[in-house]
Amino acid sequence: MPNATTIALIPLLPLAGFLLLGLFGQKLFKKSAGLIGTALLLAATILALYTAYEYFFVYGKVDGVYQKFVLLQLTWLEFYKGVSIDMGIIIDPISVMMLVVVTFISLMVHIYSLGYMKGEKRFSTYYSFLGLFTFSMLGLVLASNIFQMYIFWEGVGVSSFLLIGFYYDKPSAVAACKKAFIVTRFADLGFLIGILVLSYSAGTLDIGTLIQRLTSPESNVVKTATAYSFLGASALTWGAALVFIGGAGKSAMFPLHIWLPDAMEGPTPVSALIHAATMVVAGVYLVARLFPVFSITTPGVLEIVGWVGALSAILAAVIACTQTDIKRVLAYSTMSQIGFMMFALGVSKYGGEAGSGYTASMFHLFTHAMFKALLFLGAGAVIHYVHSNDIKDMGGLRKYLPITHITFLIACLAIAGIPPFAGFFSKEEILHAAYQNNMAVYWIALITSGLTAFYMFRLYFSIFWNKETPTFAKATAGKEGGFAMMLPLVLLGVGAAAAGFIPFGEFVSIDGKPLVSKINLVFSIAPVALGLTGIMAALWLYKKQNNRSARLAASLGGFYKAAYHKFYIDEIYLFITKKIIFNLIARPAAWFDRNVVDGLVNLTGTSIQAASEGIKKVQSGKVQQYAIYFLTGVIVLAALFIYIWK
């Protein structure tokens, strides 16, 4: 049996770091904050690895099936009988896998930041935020209760907000962090309502119980919930779809992806941790966590998941080919890769061989975390050296940054799906799953993987080759960055190169039974060839400084322009928010309140005042007027009493 205390310590250690550094960091640990944070996380990582070892090799497997353990269900908030938020820990293959990924990448980023963020004024604040993020992410991963997941979901959202806005005096960073928070918040609204729908139907918030109750089609729960329909879809379909909206927002799926490229305003290690490796895959994790519900009860929603994933993948890949900001290219590439994971889930089915998409998705999540974190950290090293994000300011850096160069190349090969690097294996499995279930998605995926190779190597060549004499002043350029920055690069480089050899299907599958991955050599020819073609194209266009790329862009004309402007999706959002929400809803609401509602109140006041003004005139002080009123009154009353009210 797993040890609850050990596992609970994994998220609590970063939390301790957050509290310690957040409350006292600026005064007590101004210099040592980084080391404290890193040490705590190192401990957490060791515990996570230990847990993984224990789970996968000691107690996890019973009768050849990996079990699901739920520990430590502390009632946090009870709503009504049977429905309460219980803080618990769920231990199953994917949560353990995520534990390892999150702690490991976070540790790498902690170490890397020791060098990257050195001399920063709010150094300890930075580490406390990192601690908060890691805590929330681990909490999310371990959540056994759907509302617990939502709580930590919001927690990662806010730590992402804080870290994007870390350079708070930069207006673009402020705008980016607001955008990120609001867009994901919008998606969270869907998640929240989805939780309400599903939990009401199932009568529980516990994920295990919820899945169990919602996946047996004969049960009364499912029958009543299906009978209740709204706008032509059953309650469960709505619930699952709304939950997926939450996941799509956090995972930057089209059309809720607009925050991710802007989020690159944050410090680069943060981008590596949050916006590449861990937080953005939370949506994938969410769908995976509730996968039985999606696949058994609402297959229609799962299909939507697949298509959204595929669409996001290719859209992001096309946009990534045109961007010149190194971090934005990586951001779109992240979105594209998450699209892969999503549609892998989308094409998967529950159980056995048909569930290979699920395994592939998780596998890709794992490898992607390695090579994408590596890419970002490498980019960070480049930016650290050049002090610019734009690839036009770079070129020929392979001589100045040898270690970065090699590791970046490994990561590029991995993401491009060139064997034997990590990306090859996971991507191959995804393509295989798509091929078996949905040919249209397969073709999209195939094209996307070609594009991926192209834009990644465009980036690679533009940074490390191209211009031999870079434009930046060589005098200011120092060394490659310290040991702190290079160590994570090397470690992640090893991971990116070798992670593919892990027999992932052995450990992670939808029903816990081992799944043997069948990499088919014949099948691999097409994607690998496409990848190589992409690399060749990038080599031809970008290895040397030339105007081929400009000519190509010109020949593509409108399409290039549209892709360069990210298909104007930002502009559409801006139109909706500024023109419709602000000018058509908020402004009239404010006006209505000040003028109509408040006007009515003031009108009551002024009308009473006017009435009293009128009555005041009657009280004129003129005796004769009084006498006339009096006389008239007497006569009228007398006449009334005599003739009418006899």
Binding site: E154, Y168, Y200, F230, A586, A589, A590, V597
Partner: protein
């Protein structure tokens, strides 16, 4: 635990304030007094829990009963249940913080503190009264000081605001009085809450009385079309005045809506529940949208209060135990949060002499402590888990979703949509004031919070976090009391 202490202590403090000689004495006496009240409130919480743990299942604990005017059956009857304890606790927190942030009031210090403590006295008395007559009496006690606090120590259009606030609240009181008298004459000449709750009042009479009571208390708690005193009142009030107004006074209304209107008149509540839901759903979303366009920090918080208080009323309108618990949680949470918000706005205003969002910027650089608190309260306002706002809103949503029909579902979804709009306006406010570059060179010389401001903020943040991180204790306090109300509604 003798509940008379809760009323006696503020009276003593007020007297001591009146007798003190100089400003220093006034301040320290008020501080000690409010500290003692805080201690008393916490002691009450523990005493209450102890009694409950000892299986004392009486509806009201620590009851005391004195005849006040036997001819009309008016009694001085006090007692507490979980709701009262929570509200008393909230009041003591806000009072403590309010006394601390007013440390630098120079104009008529003695009178200012006297009025603050009088207001607190009214609130304490209101929350523990079990007789409608003294309940009304304490309610009125808490209205008058507000008028003076705004009229004398306010800023901007203070006379207008003070008049508007006092007149609207008095109008509400008048409706409440009519409702109470209606109850008194239809239910056997009694003002006693407990005995009224056991009488069966005919349905058609409940339908008549309920709107009087609900709208009357609704004016206090900013029920949708009667909320316009909120923005004006808050924007003109001094910092502590705003804190008390939003943190305590609006809760008087919410408490009254639940304890008097809904509890005593369940048939009326059922009859008008849908209207309450519509009004509060409108208030939630519309208040949030109206907030988006505000440029003054106090207006932002005032409108967001309208929106947030809508959750309380929505919870009451839903008439499920969970939703009512949520409504109560929201009252406590909003009380702490909004008091803190106003405190922070006051601190910023004291330094920058502006409340216009557009004129600030980069305050994080100049006053990190205040800015951090501003951040926390903003995040609480937008319902971030770990802070109190989330707990309350989620409980309201969960309770609302229990009512299984399309109307209630849509109302809940409309209310839930506000979490996005709230995020938009809170982040706009935070982004423009705390973050961004420093716009005004003069701001660079400003100092961070002083000791009293720090403590005021810490007390309130502690409250928010205590509810947000471990909501169980408050939930367990409120749920049984909400159950009692639900039992009457469902006719058990």
């Amino acid at each position: 635990m003798n509940l008379l202490l809760l009323i006696g202590l503020p009276v003593l403090t007020a007297l001591a304030v009146l007798l003190s000689r100089n400003k220093q004495q006034v301040k320290w006496i008020s501080l000690l007094g409010s500290l003692a009240q805080l201690g008393l409130a916490i002691a009450l919480l523990f005493a209450f829990r102890q009694e409950r743990a000892a299986n004392n299942t009486a509806q009201m604990l620590f009851e005391q009963h004195y005849k006040l005017f036997a001819a009309l059956n008016i009694n001085f009857h006090i007692g507490v249940d979980g709701i009262s304890v929570a509200m008393v606790l909230l009041t003591s927190f806000v009072v403590m913080a309010g006394v601390l942030v007013s440390w630098n009031i120079e104009k008529m210090t003695k009178e200012f503190y006297f009025l603050l403590i009088l207001l607190a006295l009214g609130a304490y008395g209101f929350f523990i009264s079990l007789d409608l007559f003294i309940l009304f009496f304490f309610l009125e006690i808490s209205v008058i000081p507000k008028y003076l606090l705004i009229g004398i120590w306010g800023s901007g259009r203070k006379e207008y605001s003070a008049n508007k606030l006092a007149l609207m609240l008095m109008g509400g009181s008048a409706l409440i009085l009519v409702g109470i008298l209606g109850l008194y004459f239809t239910a056997g000449h009694s003002f006693d809450l407990l005995s009224l709750s056991k009488t069966n009042i005919p349905g058609n009479i409940q339908h008549i009385i309920f709107p009087f009571l609900f709208i009357g208390f609704g004016v206090f708690t900013a029920l949708f079309p009667f909320h316009t005193w909120v923005p004006d009142g808050h924007s003109s009030a001094p910092t502590a005045g705003s804190m008390f107004l939003a943190g305590i006074s609006m809760k008087l209304g919410g408490y009254g809506c639940l304890r008097v209107a809904t509890y005593l008149l369940p048939e009326g509540a059922k009859e008008y529940a849908n209207i309450i839901i519509i009004l509060s759903a409108i208030a939630i979303l519309y208040g949030a949208f109206a907030t988006m366009m505000q440029k003054d920090l106090k207006y932002i918080n005032a409108y967001s209060s309208v929106s947030h208080v809508g959750f309380s009323l929505l919870g009451i309108g839903m008439l499920t135990q969970t939703a009512i618990t949520g409504a109560l949680l929201q009252m406590v949470s909003h009380g702490l949060m909004t008091a803190l918000f106003f405190a922070v706005i006051g601190m910023i205003y004291d330094r920058t002499h502006t409340r216009m969002v557009a004129e600030m910027g980069g305050l994080m650089k100049v006053m990190p402590f205040i800015s951090t608190v501003f951040f926390i309260v903003g995040l609480c306002s937008l319902g971030l888990p770990g802070l109190s706002g989330f707990v309350a809103e989620i409980t309201v949503f969960m309770g609302s979703w229990q009512v299984d029909d399309t109307f209630h579902r849509i109302a809940t979804i409309i209310a839930a949509m506000s979490i996005v709009v709230t995020a938009v306006y809170i982040l706009r406010a935070i982004g423009q004031t705390v973050m961004g570059p420093v716009k005004n060179e003069n701001f660079l010389q400003l100092k961070d919070a002083t000791w009293n401001e720090k403590w005021a903020a810490i007390i309130l943040v502690a409250g928010i976090v205590a509810i947000g991180v471990a909501p169980g204790w408050l939930n367990n306090l409120l749920r049984p009391a909400a159950q009692v109300i639900m039992d009457r509604i469902s006719g058990k």
